[in-house]
C-alpha cells in the first residue's frame, strides 16, 4: 500500500495527495493498492511537480489503522506528525493530532 507525498512549493510544508488535491495531513490520502494505481499516483505527482505546485514527490509505504492512513517508516511518520521532540509544533499540534513514534 502506498500513498503520494511531497512538499508544497510555496512554504515547503509536507502534503499528501488526497481526493484530487494536496492535503496537509496523511490520514485520508489516496491509497494505491496495486502497481497500476501506483503508476497513476506517480503520474499525478510528476504533473504536479511540473506544474510547480509541489517538490520532492515520493510514493511511500503505508498501513491503514482504524480507517486512517499511517506511514510505515519512522521518517515518514515524523514527516506526518512533526518533530518528536516538539509535540507543540508541526501537524501533531493541530486539533487532529497524528503523533510519530
Amino acid at each position: 500500500m502506498k500513498v503520494l507525498t511531497a512538499n508544497r512549493l510555496s512554504d515547503g510544508i509536507a502534503v499528501w495527495y488526497a481526493d484530487g488535491g494536496w492535503a496537509e495531513t496523511v490520514g485520508h490520502a489516496d491509497i494505491a493498492h496495486d502497481k497500476a494505481a501506483e503508476d497513476r499516483l506517480e503520474a499525478i505527482g510528476a504533473a504536479a511537480a511540473a506544474n510547480n505546485e509541489v517538490v520532492d514527490v515520493n510514493l511511500i509505504d503505508v498501513t491503514v489503522i482504524n480507517g486512517v492512513v499511517e506511514p510505515v517508516r519512522l521518517r515518514e511518520k515524523i514527516r506526518a506528525a512533526g518533530p518528536t521532540i516538539r509535540t507543540d509544533i508541526g501537524k501533531q499540534a493541530s486539533p487532529a493530532p497524528a503523533r510519530a513514534a
Binding site: D11, N52, V55, R75, G90
Partner: protein
C-alpha cells in the same frame, strides 16, 4: 568587530535582490526545481522533512547584539519562535516559507548578515576559536585572517564549483578550540622564533563517512602568504579532487589517495607560481582588517574579586557556574562566559526568540556588545568584567540559560537528526535529551569531569560523533533506530577519530550503555584529574568492551 564596507553592503544587497527575483520566478513557475535548487542552495535554503530550512552564516561565530536581536525577530516573525545554532557556528531556522525568504534576507542584510555560501560545493563559513580576542593563551586573534579568507572566498569565480564543499577553520592558540584538524584546511596562527606571525597549515581533515585527521603540510607559512598558499591548495584540489564520486570528492580523500608527501609537493609547486605576486597580502591591508577587530577598550575593573568571592559564598549554584562556564581572560579583571544552550533535557543548540533578545540585552549591557557562537552549540560572552559576573549570572538564570555544564557530559553536541533532517537515518536529539536527563545531577557530572559526548543522526557526522570522547551514530537497521558507539575521539590539538566499541544499541539501550561506559571509566581512572579521554588512551577499548558486552552473544 568587523563592519561592512561599501563593497560588502552593495554585494549583499545585490545578492538579496538577485535571489528575491529568483524566488519570485520560481513561485511563478518560470523556472523549474532543477534550475532553482542550486540557486537556493547557494543562498542557504534547504528542503527538510517538514519545511524549508534557512541556514544563516555567522562568520567566525561573531555576532553583535543588534544581529542576535534580528535573529530573534526572524524566529518570531517568520519561524516558530526558535532557532538552532549549529556545529559550524551558524544558525538554522526550520520552518520558513520560501515566499518569506526574500523578506528574511532583506532583514538580515539590514544588520550585515546573509546566508551566502552556507551550502553548495564552495568555501563555506570560515570558523574560528569562539574565545578569539579574549583567550589568555592566544598568540593573536584569528578572526582577521578568517575575515580575509571570507572576503577572498566569497563568490570566488574559480572556487564556486569545487568537487565538494570546503571548510576552513582558524585558531590563534596552541590549545585548539576550533577543531582545525577536522577541516579541509586548518590554520594554526602562531609566531616563529623571530616573533613574526604565520600559520601551521593542516590539510585533509574531515568527518563524514570517511573520517580523517588533517595532515600538517607546513609548519610556518608567513601571514602575508595566506591567500597565495590557500589558493595553491584549492587549485590542486579543484584540479585533482574526485568529481566522479560524491563520496570520494572531499580533499581528505585526495590527500589520502595521493599521499601527503606528493600532495605537499604539488601544493608547494603551485605555490611557487603564486607567491610574492598579487595574492601576497599587503601589510597595510592586514593592518586595516586587524583594526576592525581591535578589542574593545577594557577599563581596569579591579573591584571584581571581592564581590565574586562573596557571591561564591552566598550561592552554590553561582559558584558552580563560575567553575564550569567562566574561563580566564587575557585581562585579569575580565572573564569569558559560556552561555550553555544545553539545559538538562533540552534540545542542544536551540534558543527561543525571547532568549536571543535577552542574551542580546545582556551582551549590550555587560559584554561590550560582543557575542560568539561556538561550534559546540553554545553562546559566548567573550568580555565580561569579573565585577559584573554575578549580574550576568542572575540575568541568565531569569531566562533559563545558566546551566553550569560547559565541557561536561550533558554539554552534548547533537545534529538535528531525523526530527528535522532529510538526510538523517535516526533521531539524535531525543538521545541527547535522555542522556542529559540521566546525568542531570551536576554533582555527578562534575565528578565525571570533562567529557565530550557528540551525536550524529547519520554518517555525514554533522554532530561530530567521530571526534567525541564518546560518539554516538544513529543508523536505520531493519526499520528501527540503532546507535553505534565510538570511544576515544577528540577534536583538540590532539585530534583523534574514535573507534567503534562493538555492536550497536537500540534507542532503549543506548543511555544505559553510555552510563556503563562512564561507570567503567570512573572505576579505572588513576585519579579524578585523569579525564575520560586520557584514561581511554591509556587503557584502550578492552575494559569498556568487557563492561558492555561480557557474557553477551549479541548480533552485530
Amino acid at each position: 568587530m568587523y563592519r561592512y564596507d561599501e563593497f560588502d553592503h552593495d554585494f549583499v544587497k545585490a545578492r538579496v535582490a538577485e535571489f528575491s527575483d529568483q524566488v519570485q520566478r520560481r513561485l511563478a513557475g518560470e523556472i523549474t526545481e532543477d534550475q532553482f535548487r542550486p540557486l537556493r542552495l547557494m543562498n542557504g535554503v534547504y528542503l527538510q522533512l517538514h519545511a524549508y530550512m534557512l541556514r544563516i552564516a555567522v562568520p567566525y561565530g561573531t555576532l553583535n547584539s543588534r544581529q542576535l536581536r534580528m535573529l530573534g525577530h526572524i524566529a518570531r516573525k517568520y519561524d516558530k519562535g526558535y532557532g538552532h545554532f549549529t556545529t559550524r557556528q551558524n544558525i538554522q531556522f526550520n520552518w520558513p516559507a520560501l515566499s518569506d525568504i526574500p523578506a528574511i534576507l532583506a532583514d538580515l542584510a539590514s544588520v550585515e548578515m546573509h546566508a551566502i555560501q552556507t551550502s553548495g560545493n564552495c568555501i563555506r563559513n570560515v570558523t574560528a576559536d569562539h574565545f578569539a580576542g579574549a583567550a589568555a593563551d592566544e598568540v593573536a586573534d584569528p578572526r582577521p585572517y578568517a575575515e580575509i579568507l571570507r572576503q577572498w572566498s566569497s563568490v570566488h569565480p574559480e572556487f564556486s564549483y569545487l568537487p565538494r564543499k570546503f571548510k576552513i577553520a582558524v585558531t590563534g592558540a596552541e590549545r585548539d578550540r576550533a577543531a582545525i584538524q577536522t577541516h579541509d584546511i586548518g590554520l594554526h596562527l602562531k609566531k616563529n622564533a623571530a616573533g613574526e606571525l604565520g600559520f601551521a597549515v593542516y590539510v585533509g581533515g574531515g568527518q563524514g563517512r570517511t573520517p580523517m585527521v588533517a595532515r600538517k603540510i607546513r609548519d610556518f607559512l608567513p601571514e602575508a602568504e595566506l591567500l597565495s598558499y590557500c589558493t595553491a591548495i584549492l587549485r590542486v584540489y579543484n584540479l585533482y579532487g574526485r568529481r566522479d564520486n560524491k563520496f570520494k570528492a572531499r580533499i581528505k580523500i585526495l590527500v589520502h589517495e595521493t599521499g601527503v608527501e606528493e600532495i605537499t609537493r604539488q601544493i608547494e609547486a603551485e605555490w611557487q607560481e603564486l607567491k610574492d605576486a598579487e595574492l601576497k597580502l599587503p601589510e597595510a591591508d592586514i593592518q586595516a582588517i586587524n583594526a576592525y577587530f581591535a578589542p574593545p577598550a577594557l577599563p581596569d575593573r579591579p573591584e571584581g574579586d571581592a564581590p565574586v568571592k562573596q557571591a561564591r559564598l552566598d550561592s552554590k549554584s553561582f559558584s558552580e557556574w563560575l567553575d564550569q562556564n567562566v574561563v580566564t581572560h587575557r585581562h585579569p579583571d575580565y572573564a569569558a562566559v559560556t552561555i550553555s544552550l544545553k539545559g538538562i533535557g533540552e534540545v542542544p543548540g536551540d534558543a527561543t526568540d525571547s532568549q536571543m533578545e535577552a542574551v542580546a540585552d545582556i551582551a549590550e549591557k555587560y559584554a561590550f556588545d560582543e557575542l560568539r557562537v561556538s561550534h559546540e552549540q553554545n553562546l559566548i560572552l567573550p568580555h565580561v568584567a569579573r565585577a559584573d559576573l554575578k549580574a550576568v549570572y542572575d540575568a541568565l538564570v531569569e531566562i533559563g540559560l545558566a546551566t553550569a555544564n560547559s565541557n561536561l557530559i550533558s554539554d552534548i553536541i547533537s545534529c538535528p537528526g531525523l526530527d528535522y533532517c532529510a538526510l538523517a537515518t535516526a533521531r539524535s536529539i531525543p538521545v541527547a535529551q535522555e542522556i542529559s536527563r540521566r546525568f542531570a545531577s551536576l554533582e555527578r557530572q562534575r565528578e565525571i569531569g570533562e567529557l565530550k559526548l557528540k551525536i550524529s543522526g547519520c554518517i555525514n557526522a554533522c554532530g561530530h560523533h567521530h571526534v567525541g570522547h564518546i560518539g554516538i551514530l544513529g543508523v536505520e537497521k531493519k526499520g528501527t533506530e540503532l546507535y553505534q558507539v565510538t570511544l576515544g575521539g577528540s577534536a583538540d590539538e590532539n585530534t583523534s577519530v574514535g573507534e567503534i566499541i562493538g555492536p550497536g544499541f537500540s534507542s532503549e539501550e543506548v543511555t544505559d550503555a553510555i552510563e556503563q561506559i562512564v561507570e567503567t571509566y570512573l572505576g579505572l581512572r588513576l585519579n579524578p584529574d585523569e579525564r575520560f579521554i586520557d584514561a581511554y588512551r591509556r587503557v584502550g577499548p578492552a575494559p569498556f568492551k568487557e563492561a558492555l558486552y561480557a557474557g553477551e552473544t549479541k548480533a552485530a
